[in-house]
């Protein structure tokens, strides 16, 4: 039983972190950033030397944890900010559909860039192997990583809440997310806020990359896309633009996946995802605006 709870929480954590990364950017510029998943993949590959061999040649991956973690977060944040400056800035005043297509294209550029340097074969890596060891807790055997994933996610969420509520930059981001044009008329610098949102979102992508990389022990070019889909669904269910909604929906989706895995009859288990997505459709039928509708989007519709 406890095992199920922890599975649900740790999977939900991943989705929640991914959803947050998307919601943050959507909040300030109405962009659904489909390149987010590829930023995740890029962050993990940045730990390896470019090579097409199946054996990964570890580069920064050998760093001690207190350097490794900031390194990956910085890579994610850096790439994300670069995407903003090089691509999304030019699309800022276009309609959301155009921006979305641009993000798709950008995602493919990043993915094929990785493909060129590293080939499409997943590479096995072992990051911080100590975390894969199981620990005994309350009579259940849990991988240490699962525990840490949950703790880290909760810490990130707390940190983000404090950042948004207590700092000037956070205040400006919330104001801009709700009414960007009004915030600018009050002197809030558009570029700074948007770049801040991209940096935060990228750092979250880095965090997901780390957790995912340690969990699966592989670096896979496709890995971002898998999380990204669930994360995107979470932001929609949560109410596009609502940070709290994105987190809540991420955890719910994680829980739904894990619970269905357990309660579905054995024959139906391979089709678990169909049931999960069916539940998604049900939620959207009853609450098309999402669980927590964001103020800024409500007015626009």
């Amino acid at each position: 039983m406890l095992q199920i709870v922890f599975d649900a929480l740790s999977l939900g954590s991943l989705y929640a972190l991914g959803a947050l990364g998307i919601a943050l950017i959507f909040g300030v510029m109405r962009l659904v950033n489909f390149a987010h998943g590829d930023v995740i993949a890029f962050s993990i590959f940045a730990l390896l030397w470019p090579s097409t061999d199946a054996m990964a040649i570890v580069f920064a991956g050998n760093l001690p944890w207190f350097l490794l973690i900031p390194f990956v977060l910085l890579v994610g944040a850096g790439l994300s900010v670069l995407c903003e400056i090089v691509v999304f800035r030019r699309f800022r005043n276009t309609n959301p559909a155009t921006m979305m297509i641009a993000s798709f294209a950008l995602g493919f550029v990043i993915r094929y860039f990785l493909l060129m340097l590293y080939s499409s074969r997943p590479k096995s890596i072992s990051l911080l192997p100590i975390l894969s060891q199981p620990v005994e807790m309350l009579g259940a055997r849990l991988p240490l990583l699962q525990l840490i994933t949950i703790i880290v996610t909760i810490a990130i969420l707390f940190g983000l809440v404090i950042f948004l509520r207590r700092t000037r930059f956070g205040l400006e981001m919330r104001a801009a997310a709700e009414n960007f044009s009004m915030a600018r008329m009050l002197g809030v610098r558009a570029n700074r806020v948007i770049m801040g949102a991209f940096a935060l979102s990228g750092a979250l992508a880095g965090a997901i990359a780390l957790i995912f990389g340690i969990q699966t022990g592989t670096a896979d070019i496709q890995m971002g896309a898998a999380v990204m889909l669930m994360a995107f669904i979470s932001t929609v269910i949560g109410g596009l633009g609502s940070l709290a909604g994105a987190v809540l929906a991420g955890f719910l989706l994680g829980a739904a996946s894990v619970v269905m895995q357990v309660i579905l009859p054995v024959d139906a288990r391979p089709f678990r995802d169909a049931f999960v997505y069916g539940a998604v459709i049900l939620v959207l039928l009853f609450r098309p605006q999402g669980l927590i509708a964001a103020r800024g989007t409500k007015e626009r519709v």
């Binding site: 000037r168 400006e172 104001a175 044009s181 009004m182 600018r184 008329m185 009050l186 002197g187 809030v188």
Partner: protein, 244 residues
Amino acid sequence: MTLLNLVDVSVRYGRLTAVRGVSINLKEGEVLFITGPNGAGKSSLLRAIAGVTPTAGGHVEFDGAEITGRTPEDIARLGFSMVPEGREVFGSLTIEENLMVGAGMHSRTPGWKGQTAADLDSVYNTFPILKERRNQQAGLLSGGQQQMLVIGRALMARPRLIAIDEPSLGLAPNITDQVYERLIALQAERSLTLLIVEQSSTRAVMIGGRMILMRSGQVVLDGDARELGNSEAMQAAYFGYEDH
């Protein structure tokens, strides 16, 4: 001394021209009402000055500096505070947070904390209801209270000029009276320059000051509000038929 100078400003939305060649000169400490019927281009003009809508021609000077084509945040930082139509409070932020967003542009200047606390007190003195409800979400305020909040928020930026678009929109007449009463008191107290857009000229005639009448994107009349208000020229401008 001229604070705001518009020279031949035009605004276009696609093929539609909303403002055609408007020139206005506004002195420091002056109160100017821009009135005119719906669609006269008043709001477009205001938005163009604030940098929210691009100008299609002409130029705008604020305090002697050219601000045409600059970003809204740059223009705000020069001391031009805009209160747009429909109030636009940040509904999910608390009242105090709304006010703090207004003060944010000075956060790099030394002594900011003390200054902001003093400004906050002064806004709360002017609008005590805001102090009472300062930790509530701004979206829960009534229309009149929201209007007070956005004026207070504009004041937090310590502006030299406040431009207000339709402050009476959707407010009961006695609430509008309150808002104007405080606005005018503030203006006198701080020698603020006020640029107020209203559809009707009634308020301008009541309060006095300078009044400009716009129609079809152009300035039709410019003069003392009380003198213009009852003139035949005014009547003709409002109700007159198209003469072009």
